[in-house]
């Protein structure tokens, strides 16, 4: 046990290339997925937060419920879509990083949408009447609130980052954990642990926990900055 820890620190200390290949793919896949989820989720959150239309509440309930999507189920559905006989099979994306990005985007999208919807709704309650009195269109108001709410919105995005980096179920199904191609931190930990290579698993685990702490620390700092009301 002690040996495994020592070796794990050794791997990190000497910047083991295999280790960092895995870490960098993890970051690339998850951050791309979060970026895509933001492109769709933030406008959707703004739409749900600051406009009223029939059926809006039902949509909000559904989006909130989707926040709890089990990653393996997302993986399974994306797998079925991308498999050779599936509707998107001709794109041949399965077992490639692109498939992992798609799966994680699907997983993160409800999180970014639901959390940002809440932020936009609160902001609209505060700013809405003033912005309407200025004659701002809803689109312009949304852009203004995006800037005004940048800290709480960034916290919502970081929640997505944390979820994407930590999940294993979706990426292992659509990525397949192929060495040097689709092996990311979580899938590598699962594999190496089962194979008994505890040092690599531990090294990745340490990095993953470190990233998780960093993400949460950043979220905390952003919340404090927002609480000061300056920014």
């Amino acid at each position: 046990m002690g040996d495994a820890f020592a070796q794990a620190f050794g791997l990190i200390a000497r910047l083991d290339p295999d280790l960092f290949e895995i870490v960098s793919l993890s970051l690339r896949v998850s951050l791309t997925a979060v970026g895509l989820a933001c492109l769709v989720g933030l406008p959707l959150g703004a739409l749900l937060g600051i406009t009223r239309f029939p059926g809006r509440r039902a949509v909000v309930v559904v989006v909130n419920a989707l926040m709890g999507l089990p990653p393996v189920v997302v993986g399974l559905v994306v797998y079925l879509m991308l498999s050779r006989s599936g509707p998107l099979g001709s794109l041949a994306l399965l077992f490639r990083p692109s498939a992992m990005v798609i799966a994680q985007t699907v997983l993160i999208l409800p999180i970014v949408t639901a959390l940002s919807r809440q932020v936009f709704e609160d902001l609209w309650r505060e700013y809405g009447e003033q912005l309407r009195a200025f004659g701002a269109s809803r689109l312009r108001a949304a852009a203004t609130l995006l800037v005004e709410g940048r800290y709480p919105l960034a916290t919502a995005v970081l929640a997505g980052v944390g979820r994407a980096l930590a999940e294993v179920g979706a990426v292992i199904i659509v990525g397949g954990n192929i060495a040097h191609l689709t092996r990311v931190m979580t899938t590598a930990i699962a594999l190496e642990t089962s194979r008994g290579d505890l040092s690599l698993a531990l090294a990745l685990g340490l990095i993953l926990v470190g990233l998780s702490i960093a993400v949460n620390g950043a979220a905390q700092l952003l919340q404090e900055a927002a609480g000061r009301g300056v920014g």
Binding site: E126, A133, F134, R140
Partner: protein, 251 residues
Amino acid sequence: MASAEPGNHAAVPEAGVLPLRLEGVSFEVDGLALLDGIDLELGPGPLSVVLGANGAGKSLLLRVCHGLLTPTRGQVHWCGAGAAQAADRCAMVFQRPVLLKRSAAANVDYPLRLRGVPKAARRDRIERALRATGLVALAERPARLLSGGEQQRLALAQAWALSPQVVFLDEPAAALDPPASRALERIVRELADTGTKIVMTTHDLEQARRMADEVLFLHRGRLLERAPNASFFDRPESAEARAFLEGEPAP
């Protein structure tokens, strides 16, 4: 003071939007008439103070006039030649100003940008509005770090910079201490003296007495009296207004 500067209003004379005419305006929520059959014409000129107890419908009346709320019955007409652009010709100052998380100057800039005022003209107008409200020294200060009185003056600067024909003020001094309240009143008076029509609500009798050219007395959603300052305070016609002035419960 800046108020005397002739350049406060846009160089090109604008088509007027006044008088504003309300015909049989009611606002009902769940069958309860919060505004009840109000007929009213507001022309340019006198500083109009809407006076009444809490819940009389003062804020609601202002929002209906401005167009933020649509009455459930009756009509609101802007009647001047510029009626079609009426929304761009009026400004609203709320009881609690909602300022953006940026500098005081940027807060004045924001509504100007929304209305497509060119950059060079914006700088000029921001400068003048901040000077008129005594905020030049605080121009670069984050707006949310200003005191309550300064924030409310900044809200007034936002309105001032727009060079509106009408400014609605909803209990603008209700949350301020007496000196801040007086400072605000002076600025509002100066704004009125530039030819801007002011319609403000208050439940503060002394403030109404100081500010009003004419008083509109609102009671339970109905406009009971409209009279020049002196005659309203000296000889109120309705029993409700007499009770309000005496600080007694309504008959």
